[in-house]
């Protein structure tokens, strides 16, 4: 089978060490590797503060949540951080069940998630 079409992953560098990762569609065991790959490329490229925009994420499973936890750990090792923006109620429910709502900072929009992060981002 070719590249999964169930998910749409894209990212935008905002200058400094900040980036927004947009995840659209369904993220599960099949499509999580695409998310992981993008996150690793961003971190390897110097990103230290990452907003994950979940506005268009329709489905997220435990492997995707695990990948986000892995990304948060990796960013923290570099004094960085990861915030989640605008998860749909279904995804919020999963974050609550797994208690990850307390681990991640969850904001209602990308703009709110970026608040407090100056353009320089964290020092690498």
């Amino acid at each position: 089978m070719g590249k999964p079409v169930d998910v749409d992953v894209s990212s935008e560098r905002l200058g400094g060490h900040i980036a927004v990762l947009r995840i659209g569609g369904e993220v599960d065991l099949y499509t999580t590797p695409q998310v992981k790959e993008e996150v690793l490329a961003l971190i390897d490229g110097g990103v230290r503060r990452l907003v994950v925009d979940l506005s268009n994420t329709e489905y997220l499973d435990s492997t995707a949540l695990g990948a986000l936890v892995g990304a948060l750990k990796r960013l923290r090792e570099h004094d960085g951080d990861l915030r989640l923006a605008n998860p749909q109620p279904r995804i919020r429910k999963l974050l609550e069940i797994t208690r990850l709502a307390k681990v991640f900072e969850v904001r209602d929009s990308v703009a709110q998630a970026l608040e407090g992060w100056d353009e320089q981002g964290a020092t690498a």
């Binding site: 599960d28 099949y30 499973d61 435990s62 695990g66 936890v69 892995g70 208690r99 307390k102």
Partner: protein, 144 residues
């Protein structure tokens, strides 16, 4: 299986990640036909997806690259839907996985079990050396 089963839908899928969504959609269609509401259908999709993920990851950890078939059975009962996910896996210790998640909030694995148990009304695990692992998940229809 409960004795009140009125219909049964069986699906056999290759134990590979790209087929998980196929099973999720099938379960969602069965649940919709039974009259489950949107939230409950989504709960069932997640629970089914997590049970399949467990089974496939277990096969991968045993070095089964091609993916053994996994059977998903939906037993439609009068007021509940029972979903069984059967694989040839060696099983796992649910209690050990629960403890791993509780001890480390940044645990990357083991979240699936937490989701299955939270989203279903009843969950049973069975592991037999000759027949593999079975996860049985029950969701009751809300009173209308």
């Amino acid at each position: 299986m409960p004795t009140t089963t009125t219909s049964r839908v069986e699906l056999k899928i290759p134990g590979r990640p790209e087929f998980i969504s196929v099973a999720r959609l099938a379960v969602a269609a069965v649940a919709a036909r039974m009259g489950f509401d949107y939230d409950d259908i989504e709960d069932l999709k997640v629970a089914t997806g997590e049970a399949l993920t467990n089974a496939i990851q277990d096969a991968q950890s045993r070095g089964v690259a091609a993916g053994e078939d996994i059977v998903v059975i939906c037993a439609l009962c009068e007021r509940e839907l029972v979903i069984e996910v059967r694989d040839k896996g060696s099983g796992f210790d649910p209690e050990r996985r629960r403890q791993a998640v509780e001890q480390d909030e940044l645990q990357e694995g083991g979240l699936g079990l937490l989701l299955i148990e939270a989203l279903c009304d009843k969950v049973e695990f069975e592991t037999k050396p000759d027949s593999g692992t079975l996860v049985r998940m029950t969701k009751r229809l809300a009173d209308s």
